[in-house]
């Protein structure tokens, strides 16, 4: 390999056919005279622009059934020609410098074009140099050179993460890997599970219970997840009314008064709430508005007046020593019901965190735009982060996440995207240059993920996500399946 040119932070390296390199690989440009090595990552592999290549190809293309021939080539120059023709130009991005055996983020120097030696930097060396694995390792998968990519759980703590990629590339699989590892380290995870994919994390592929049995709690609204009105604060209920049920301001004011009266009486039940609305002295339009919201709450099946049926949400979350995951199964729930449930859950988590009943929680939100109101985005990534909610968004529609979220994301786990718009959206993330995202993510095979951000010490690494011995439940149900 030879150093060809540098434009900005893009370095062009000429590579020859016997040098087996791929997109995503790291190279080390050793400059002995400067006593420094530049770390670069290959973001694209192109054909080298060889003079005369067009003529050569045109001439070769003329050999067909009507034209063929022989070459008397005593010096076997053809092998040299093919060698030249197959040479590649590697587009690389400078990532850092090794000086005195330490990685420093300085990429402002230029290695010697003539004196530098270029060699492949194995991923395990990079991981060691970058101190990426740490004391709470999470094994994500294997890199292309069969090194194990192990990230540090500390790098997820207090951070905002995004897992994105097109359908069926392995996003949920990765999030499950991370969740189970967080449980191993005693963390609490809450998963807003849109499709019921996380409900069998405590069962292995053969259907038997695994080591996570007892640590995974699945709450299915209307089945084993119902709440009493008295478990809920007025603020959470008003959030539900405003954001999920769009109650007008006047009606909300009346509702607040009704709630306070019932609360003072100690009769905060659904039945009493219905009676109170019926008997409340107010404009009949307001009453109608209150009734329509009341019936929406009633029909959601999420609220109950029976204390024995009610779920004590904090029971599974507080005082946990060995780690746990609470799966909120949102499958088979309507859009409004979903919003009601999520408003309740987030309100409850915020309440538990502010009262220090819980230390911190890792929240995993799948396709959050389907249940999270607009104003929550900023709330979650800015304000609630300080209370201890560390969110991971999982989506196959990157444009549903707002731009400022990408800019604030600490870690991005990027799977394959082919759509230009999707790539453009993700490339706005501040953790890496747009070209790296676009060029590498476009060609990622299924289950391969480009890891960006603090978990890899800002060295983007491609890894194949490891398989899990759990019932992942993420498969799409098909019509044309083998009936045998």
């Amino acid at each position: 390999m030879r150093l060809y040119k540098k434009e900005g932070n893009t370095i062009h390296i000429l590579s020859f056919p016997e040098e087996k390199i791929e997109k995503g690989d790291y190279l080390l440009i050793e400059d002995c005279s400067a006593k420094k090595d530049l770390i670069v990552q290959i973001v694209d592999v192109q054909f080298a622009n060889i003079p005369g290549i067009l003529e050569e190809l045109l001439r070769d293309s003329t050999t067909n059934q009507h034209l063929n021939g022989e070459n008397f080539d005593p010096f076997q120059l053809v092998s040299h020609i093919t060698y030249i023709q197959d040479s590649n130009m590697l587009l690389c991005k400078a990532r850092g410098t090794i000086e005195n055996e330490k990685i420093i983020p300085n990429i402002s120097w230029l290695p010697s074009r003539t004196q530098s030696k270029i060699k492949k930097l194995p991923t395990d060396s990079l991981l060691n140099l970058g101190g990426i694995s740490g004391d709470l390792p999470i094994f994500l998968g294997d890199t292309k050179d069969s090194s194990q990519l192990t990230i540090n759980a500390h790098a997820l703590d207090g951070k905002l993460n995004i897992i994105t990629g097109k359908k069926e590339t392995g996003k949920s699989h990765l999030s499950k890997t991370i969740i189970l590892n967080l449980i191993n380290y005693g963390a609490v995870a809450i998963i807003l599970d849109l499709n019921g994919e996380y409900t069998k994390l405590d069962f292995s592929l053969d259907g038997k219970r695994n080591e996570y049995y007892g640590k995974i709690h699945v709450l299915t609204p209307g089945v084993n997840f119902e709440v009493l009105l008295s478990q809920m604060s007025l603020r959470v209920m008003l959030n539900i009314l405003f954001h999920a049920l769009n109650i007008p301001g006047t009606s909300a004011r009346e509702f607040r008064q009704i709630w306070r009266v019932l609360e003072q009486k100690g009769t905060l039940t659904l039945r009493e709430l219905g009676e109170a609305i019926r008997n409340w002295k107010c404009n009949h339009h307001v009453r109608d508005a209150l009734f329509s919201r009341y019936y929406a709450l009633l029909n959601s099946g999420f609220f109950t007046d029976n204390p024995s049926e009610a779920t004590i949400f904090e029971k599974d979350l507080c005082n946990v020593e060995n780690g746990t995951a609470l799966i909120i199964n949102l499958r088979d729930t309507s859009t409004i019901d979903r919003q009601i449930i999520v408003e309740y859950v987030l309100g409850k988590i915020a309440e538990l965190l502010t009262t220090w009943k819980m230390r911190a929680v890792f929240l995993f939100a799948e396709e959050a735009h389907l249940y999270l109101r607009e104003t929550y985005w900023d709330d979650i990534v800015t304000r609630m982060r300080h209370f201890g909610i560390f969110t991971t968004f999982i989506t196959n529609q990157p444009d549903t996440i707002r731009q400022n979220i990408y800019r604030q994301a600490d870690n991005i786990f990027l799977f394959n995207f082919t759509n230009e718009n999707d790539l453009e959206t993700v490339s706005r993330a501040a953790k890496v240059d747009a070209e790296t995202v676009k060029l590498i993510a476009r060609d990622l095979p299924p289950r391969h993920c480009l890891v960006l951000g603090k978990v890899v010490n800002d060295f983007p690494i491609v890894a194949k996500v490891r398989s899990l011995n759990i019932q992942t439940m993420g498969q799409t149900r098909l019509f044309f399946t083998n009936k045998d």
Partner: protein, 366 residues
């Protein structure tokens, strides 16, 4: 005596040759190997615009012919209309290219390659001979030339006049071309043989004896030799002969009363101007003058009936040129071969033109 059935062997003529049957001269290979092993010093790579100029081997000869055809107005011209003859005839074309690969402290490194293309039964077949890289120095140039001349042309030694190193690739290419033409004249039967250039003889690389002998061998094997020249200095009443709007192609313009010998040069062909297609260019065409007139015309008509014509130029000859030409990739590959084989170190020689004249130092726009 009982009458015996007489079986004749299948004639081998006109089957495209394999390298084995062509008996590629080991001398070329030996010489090439011998010379490229000698340089043990640095080579200086040439600026690219100079480096990738392929030399057609006829270039020097064409230049020489300016002296041979003085601008006098005594030619007479006769037009001959042509009708394509579809009688199955093999068309054979020969071309050779030479190129300078680089310079050493002692001389230059060049490469030569020859190509033969056959058109037969609606398909084309080619044989490429080479490339042969050669390291030519002031010390060895006479020796190389003598050995190749002796081998290719089977001629006695003759002093090498006015040959600076820069002309040597073309001269050596001419020798390879002469050898290939000779072999093809031997091996072909009832064919049309196409040369690139003219049938003018008398240069050191194209001795009259060799060219006459080659043409004679071709005639003896019932071949007709035609030479297409892309450039000509022929003029009639100071007008360029390539312009003739009144005639309907395909046609030949027979140029009579040209001097057949001037100084050391001899015209071994009958000279025509020709336009073979309606929208094509006009070329000078030399046809072996020892052939009867009707056979000369028939040869062109057979060419019309058997070969494709691109811009009035025979496809077989065009392919021969294309396959002989060195591409820039091949030049780089040969440089790499020399670096590997001989341990040469390639250096970039500063471009003096660019150095002196800046952006005006490139020469004419390519």
């Amino acid at each position: 005596m009982i009458e015996q059935l007489h079986y004749t062997t299948t004639p081998k003529y006109n089957f495209p040759l394999s390298p084995e049957t062509l008996q590629i001269p080991q001398k070329f290979i030996e010489l090439s190997l011998k010379t490229i092993k000698t340089p043990k010093q640095q080579t200086l790579q040439l600026p690219q615009q100079t480096l990738f100029n392929n030399c057609s081997t006829t270039k020097l000869d064409d230049e020489d012919q300016t002296q041979f055809f003085p601008n006098h107005n005594h030619y007479t011209i006769q037009s001959i209309p042509l009708n394509p003859l579809n009688e199955e005839t093999t068309i054979v074309a020969v071309d050779v290219s030479s190129i300078k690969i680089g310079e050493t402290n002692q001389g230059i490194i060049c490469a030569i390659r020859g190509t033969i293309v056959w058109k037969q039964h609606k398909s084309y077949k080619y044989l490429r001979i080479g490339p042969f890289p050669l390291h030519i120095t002031e010390e060895n140039k006479r020796e190389i030339y003598r050995l190749l001349r002796q081998h290719s042309l089977n001629l006695p030694n003759e002093p090498l006049h006015h040959s600076n190193l820069i002309n040597m690739p073309t001269k050596l290419g001419n020798l390879l071309e002469c050898w290939i033409r000779m072999k093809i004249s031997h091996a072909s039967q009832n064919s049309i043989i196409l040369w690139d250039g003219s049938l003018t003889a008398g240069t050191t690389s194209s001795p009259i004896k060799t060219i006459s002998q080659t043409l004679e061998i071709a005639r003896n094997h019932l071949n007709a030799t035609l030479a297409f020249s892309k450039n000509t200095y022929l003029r009639f009443l100071t007008h360029q002969l390539t312009v003739s709007k009144n005639l309907q192609p395909p046609y030949l313009l027979e140029i009579n009363d040209l001097p057949t010998k001037t100084g050391s040069f001899s015209l071994l062909g009958k000279v025509y101007m020709t336009r073979l297609t309606r929208n094509g260019c006009c070329f000078r065409l030399d046809i072996d003058k020892e052939l009867p007139n009707e056979l000369r015309i028939e040869a062109v008509e057979k060419l019309l009936g058997n070969d494709l014509l691109f811009q009035s130029y025979p496809e077989t000859l065009r392919l021969a040129h294309i396959f002989a030409t060195f591409t820039a990739t091949e030049v780089i590959a040969m440089q790499r071969f020399l670096v590997k084989k001989c341990g040469l170190k390639i250096l970039n020689r500063p471009n003096i033109h660019r150095f002196l004249f800046g952006s005006f130092g490139y020469g004419p726009e390519a």
